[in-house]
Symmetry: C2
Subunit: 332 residues, 2 copies
């Protein structure tokens, strides 16, 4: 089941671009799904799309009210309940990627019944999964993997999808996190699945397909991250990738959130991922490197990519600055 | 919170020893926790301990009624509800390792409130976990890892604990599956934890301890099993093992439940586990090999263990036939 569109992106009184990641992802990658942005007094950031209130959005055909912000701890501040209720009264479904469930608020559950709207907690999968079986599926799969968490795996995946579409590939982006799910209108928040079903859920995410079809699967975490490597490994095995793209962010000295950890080299990341991926697809290969170079000048970024490209004999791009055409050429 | 003991082990009308694994585990490893076994007409297997009904068990001080059997699919057959209700009326808590929750039966929830007894679904953790942080904890940890699922990791762990106790080690067995939890009276069913928290839950299972204390942690799955490797990796990282014991079962030609898969060698299993474990404990080492040789004669079993011991320069035992003293000597 797909999330209903178009979306009204609600960003509350946010003052930090990082806190409206959900809204920005949708506005940047699927503007055609977004009818407008709704913010309240005190808000100092924007996704750049048209501002409007709930009534205006409803008149323009909005079908979903998206909580486009994140609080630390993933809780839903009660101050936003009246806005959510107003949106339901206007007939909109409510979409949340917060950890705290919409359905844990009795007043919202009651209002949803009354207004025949849906509370969609996209971080909390409702499906029943099977355990993985490792049986090879038809069609081709590309998975983005990282040196660390939050190094741009989703943006890289979307950039690759965009470039493949341009070149007339038959391709689907497969979302594994809440932001990706909002963009794809469907997917599975893989880190919220019960541990026994990580690879099984991933298998269901990119089902058997026609031989020339590609799934571009959004990676999660890193095999070198002590908190999340289990998720990354189950996702890798369930994806059975034919192609891996290594994602990296400049200027990291330790794993995200863990100051005492060592950062793995790109070489180590390639080795670890190839070795593990071979369990379910012996033909796996690395087809490119994607680097977030936003911390340096464009010129310096290109220099770094050229060096990495030479070092690993692989295309290396900053997908936001350069696009992903160079990587997609390797999929030919 | 610990499960209340002593237990009455209920095995229903089971006719297959494999289906009463829970009851057998408790009777074999913690007979002192078990007051008796209760079976009904048609049952053709036994744990070997004294048979009695609920009334007799209650008079002997039983505190918990353990569902000691498993149906395929982990469902609770409604035919057992009257027995469960009788046990609650006798003041016993109900302990279940089934997938289907006791708390999903309204009549049991109501009866539990009425009788002030507890429904304990040991497969379904109630705790709130944090994500792992990889910070090194004090004390020492041994983890059993396997070439496959169900190769004897729990029995090996318990045998090692037994041998360590005999040698006056300060040691705790840490359970990660329902059967182990029944034996230890506490633990975390690690494959039932939400994926994001696998390593965090594991970290909480063997907390900071005195320098000479050992935790013997029950392993789960295998890094080479396409269905469950994510669980195994998160468990490995969260355990920060100082010592690994490699568990193996003779006569496997493919991974459990997956006929098309290749079986890893012991050598590969050692390499994969050491490599992954070094992320959270660079000083990790393999201290022994445990082989389930029950499919061959004792003599042949000892021959195989001697060969493996020579090949890997490690003690190699069948923990049920030989005990684990040879491995424990390496911990000295």
């Amino acid at each position: 089941m797909k999330i209903k569109s178009p979306y009204l992106l609600f960003i509350g009184d946010a003052t930090d671009k990082l806190s409206i990641k959900m809204a920005l992802g949708a506005a940047n990658w699927r503007q055609e799904l977004c009818v407008g942005e709704y913010s309240v007094k005190g808000c100092s950031v924007t996704t750049g799309i048209e501002k409007m209130n709930i009534k205006q959005a409803s008149e323009k055909g909005a079908k979903s009210f998206v909580l486009g912000f994140a609080n630390s701890g993933g809780r839903l501040d009660k101050q936003w309940l009246p806005y959510i209720i107003e949106a339901m009264e206007a007939g909109l479904d409510i979409i949340s990627g917060l950890h705290e469930k919409l359905s844990s608020f009795p007043e919202l559950v009651e209002k949803a019944q009354q207004t025949q709207t849906k509370l969609v907690d996209i971080r909390h999968p409702l499906q029943k999964f099977s355990t993985g079986n490792g049986v090879k599926r038809r069609g081709k799969r590309l998975l983005t993997v990282g040196t660390d968490c939050s190094v741009g795996k989703m943006y890289t995946s979307l950039s690759i999808e965009q470039s493949m579409k341009k070149s007339n590939f038959n391709v689907d982006f497969r979302a594994t996190g809440q932001c990706g799910i909002l963009i794809a209108r469907q997917g599975i928040a893989i880190d919220c699945v019960v541990a026994d079903f990580i690879s099984g859920a991933t298998e269901s995410l990119s089902p058997d397909n026609s031989a020339e079809h590609w799934d571009v699967i959004e990676g999660q975490g890193s095999l070198s991250h002590p908190s999340f490597a289990g998720v990354s490994l189950g996702l890798l095995h369930g994806s059975q990738p034919d192609a891996l793209v290594i994602c990296h962010d400049l200027n990291r000295s330790h794993m995200r959130g863990l100051p005492m950890t060592q950062f793995p080299s790109i070489e180590t990341t390639i080795e670890l991922n190839l070795q593990a991926a071979r369990l379910t697809n012996p033909a796996v290969r690395v087809v490119g490197i994607a680097v977030n170079t936003s911390s340096v000048s464009e010129e310096k970024g290109q220099e770094i990519c050229a060096e990495l490209s030479a070092q690993f004999s692989l295309p290396c791009v900053d997908p936001l600055r350069d696009g992903a055409d160079a990587i997609v050429k390797k999929l030919g």
